[in-house]
């Protein structure tokens, strides 16, 4: 043991699985082994250039526009399906992984690599804010994290204030369509997403993304249907409003009759799934459900501000409009 080594300074963080992790004080190389907005978090916290390995981001062309180097970053796998040797070869200071892949994470820890877990799909609004803070600590970007949390808090408060005027009888019943017409979501995030925007999730009894019968939807008779753009039956072929209107089983539903059918937008990430950007998604949904109640929300401005502040990117009107046409994302 003659090699001279300067012991790196370390710090400890408590990650989202409640585990205390030792990470280098200075994090310069990051490998991401999950989706769920982890990459976006790193980007908005200003550490995009430190990512040396992560799963493909081809689903997010808007993100690739201002982080084009992501196209060439090696993919060392995701969740439990990771290549340990490849990650060792990339010599990361820390791996950002999901709380849902303990097997893969453990293997990395055994190889002596610090693993910090994030909530990915299991996030709630509160959880997400905690996660921003934790990531700020890991990346030494506490200020950026606080700015982000501040943005969230102010918008959440605004939503809450405006929604105060919504009486129970004015609240709209929302059906959140995941990929195929009969699958919906009543899990933590699906619930937060809709209720924060002032809606009632008709599927609140339904735990996770699950299939229901056509009759059930007929009985719920939702006022509005929102269609996820991240879990299509097919890639870039999400459910279209026309498809529902032409479906004889659906024609008698209020939402279809009144043409209250909306596709969830895609920004730098899916707006209906947890990520730093999902606050924009919540505002979009609130405005969509109650254009009058939330008339104060100027989504274009909010989005522009978010992208300017956190992505350091000036969004054009055209780019903003493209967010609402998920099909175009693939082109």
């Amino acid at each position: 043991q003659t090699a001279v080594k300067t012991a790196p300074a370390e710090k400890t963080v408590v990650d989202m699985s409640g585990k205390t992790v030792k990470v280098p004080a200075e994090v310069n190389k990051i490998v991401v082994t999950c989706y769920g907005g982890a990459t976006n978090e790193i980007v908005v916290l200003g550490a995009a250039d430190k990512i040396v390995g992560q799963p493909s981001q081809e689903n997010f062309p808007h993100l690739l526009k201002f982080e084009p180097q992501f196209k060439n970053i090696p993919d060392a796998g995701s969740f439990d399906n990771i290549s340990v040797e490849e990650i060792i070869r990339l010599k990361p200071d820390v791996v950002i992984a999901s709380v849902t892949s303990p097997k893969g994470n453990k293997k990395l820890e055994d190889a002596g690599i610090p693993v910090v877990t994030v909530l990915t799909g299991r996030a709630t609004i509160d959880g997400l804010k905690k996660e921003f803070k934790m990531m700020g600590e890991v990346l030494n970007k506490e200020n950026e994290a606080n700015t982000l949390i501040g943005f969230w808090d102010s918008r959440l408060k605004m939503l809450k204030d405006e929604a105060a005027g919504l009486t129970a009888d004015k609240q709209k019943k929302v059906y959140y369509m995941l990929g195929i017409p009969l699958r919906t979501d009543g899990s933590a995030w699906g619930q937060d997403f809709i209720t924060t925007a002032g809606g009632i999730n008709v599927a609140r009894g339904v735990d996770n993304a699950n299939q229901v019968s056509a009759e059930q939807v007929l009985q719920w008779n939702p006022d509005v249907i929102i269609m996820s753009s991240n879990i299509g039956p097919t890639k870039n072929h999400f459910i279209m409003a026309d498809e529902l209107k032409n479906n004889a089983q659906m024609t008698n539903i209020n939402a279809v009759k009144n043409n209250q059918l909306y596709q969830c937008p895609i920004g730098a990430f899916w707006w209906d799934r947890p990520s730093p950007e999902s606050i924009l998604g919540i505002m979009w949904l609130a405005r969509t459900l109650y254009p009058d109640t939330f008339a104060n929300i100027n989504l274009a401005r909010e989005t522009g501000e978010f992208f300017k502040t956190f992505y350091h990117y000036s969004l054009t009107d055209q780019e903003f409009k493209a967010f609402f046409n998920p099909q175009s994302a693939g082109e």
């Binding site: 989706y35 769920g36 689903n59 995701s78 969740f79 399906n81 799909g121 995941l178 990929g179 195929i180 017409p181 009969l182 699958r183 599927a203 009894g205 339904v206 735990d207 993304a209 699950n210 299939q211 229901v212 019968s213 056509a214 009759e215 059930q216 007929l218 009985q219 008779n221 991240n230 879990i231 299509g232 039956p233 097919t234 890639k235 870039n236 072929h237 479906n247 004889a248 089983q249 024609t251 008698n252 799934r273």
Partner: protein, 352 residues
């Protein structure tokens, strides 16, 4: 001609000594229509029996339309296609299973044995992966189901030794290949996006069946079922084994090919509208054999009657049990397996 055959079926069913069998025979014929009617009143959306009668009558008589339009939608757009589809699929899988069990001289064989389901599943997965429309998924599923079986058949024909075992082995092989292909697609699919779609699709469900779907499978199903039904006597002879059947005057090569094509048409069509529903093709022929014996002259009709009733019953359960639809593939197994176990233990002659 048709009349004579029908009389024979009755004759054979009722010929048995014990009166119990007469009742069983009658029950067999009464069951499907009975369940058909009952099933209309079941579901998450409440439709009372007399409202149902009104709705049905209104299709024929100029009744006053006092109920909401939604009721019409529920009855004709949601329940009717679903009931018909489940009966069709149940009958098809049971028929294919019965035919295969005879052809392979093996009571453990199911219609999937030559890779039809595996192929159809792969076809669906690849269609989902490549963003096809729903109709595209169905077509791809059907075609790959056929392709898988034809491939297995082609491969087996290059093996000289013991053609039946060769066929089964080739089928298992091709099936595994397609299943791995499906896994590979699942694996390559974005876990946030395609994976759940593919996984759920493979579990099998009739929840989304539309009238159009029923129309699109009725032709391949009839094209498969009618020849098999007509060939049912020859299935008896085939079940004695290749050599003996040939000595008794059967062109086994051609008959086997016909049985395979017909069974595959039905299986692939079934998978293409409602995903992989295992177990029916294995269970129902056994059940039928316990009730009416191994003679295909009665076994095949009995399988059709029991198969359609069984799947309809299970699907009724799926519809009424919970808000969330439990996939039919899961339910058929969860109900079928213990039921089958019970039968096995009770029956005097085992599974025969």
């Amino acid at each position: 001609m048709e009349l004579i055959k029908k009389r024979n079926i009755f004759q054979l069913i009722f010929q048995s000594r014990d009166g119990l069998r007469v009742i069983k025979g009658g029950a067999l014929f009464a069951l499907p229509p009975l369940l058909f009617i009952i099933s209309f009143t079941l579901g998450r959306y409440p439709v009372s029996p007399d409202l149902l009668l009104n709705v049905l009558a209104a299709k024929l008589l100029p009744l006053q339309h006092t109920w909401p339009d939604t009721v019409d939608t529920v009855v004709f757009q949601v329940r009717l296609p679903r009931i018909i589809a489940s009966m069709l699929v149940g009958a098809a899988l049971a028929t294919a299973g019965a035919a295969y069990q005879g052809m392979f001289k093996n009571p453990l064989v199911s219609p999937d044995i030559l890779g039809a389901s595996a192929g159809a599943g792969f076809g669906a997965a690849i269609a989902i992966f490549n963003s096809f429309s729903i109709i595209g998924i169905q077509a791809s599923s059907f075609l790959f189901g056929l392709l898988a079986v034809l491939l297995a058949y082609a491969v087996s024909s290059r093996i000289r030794h013991d053609p039946m075992l060769a066929l089964i082995l080739s089928g298992i092989l091709v099936g595994t290949l397609f299943t791995s292909g499906t896994s590979l697609i699942k694996y390559m699919a974005d876990p946030y996006d395609k994976l759940p779609a593919i996984t759920y699709w493979l579990m099998g469900s009739l929840a989304a069946v539309a009238p159009r779907d029923v129309l699109s499978v009725i032709i391949p199903m009839l094209a498969g079922a009618v020849p098999l039904y007509l060939l049912r006597w020859r299935l008896n002879v085939l079940s004695l084994g290749e050599e003996e059947a040939r000595a008794l005057g059967i062109n086994t090569g051609r008959l086997k090919f016909l049985v395979i094509v017909c069974s595959t048409l039905m299986t692939a069509a079934a998978v293409s509208i409602c995903g992989v529903i295992g177990w029916v093709g294995l269970l129902v022929p056994h059940l039928a054999r316990m009730l009416v014996g191994p003679n295909y002259k009665v076994l095949l009709p009995a399988s059709i009657l029991i198969g359609s009733s069984y799947l309809l019953l299970v699907d009724d359960l799926a519809r009424i049990m919970a808000v969330v639809e439990i996939p039919l593939g899961i339910l058929t197994s969860l109900i079928g397996a213990p039921f089958f176990l019970y039968l096995l233990q009770r029956s005097r002659r085992g599974w025969l």
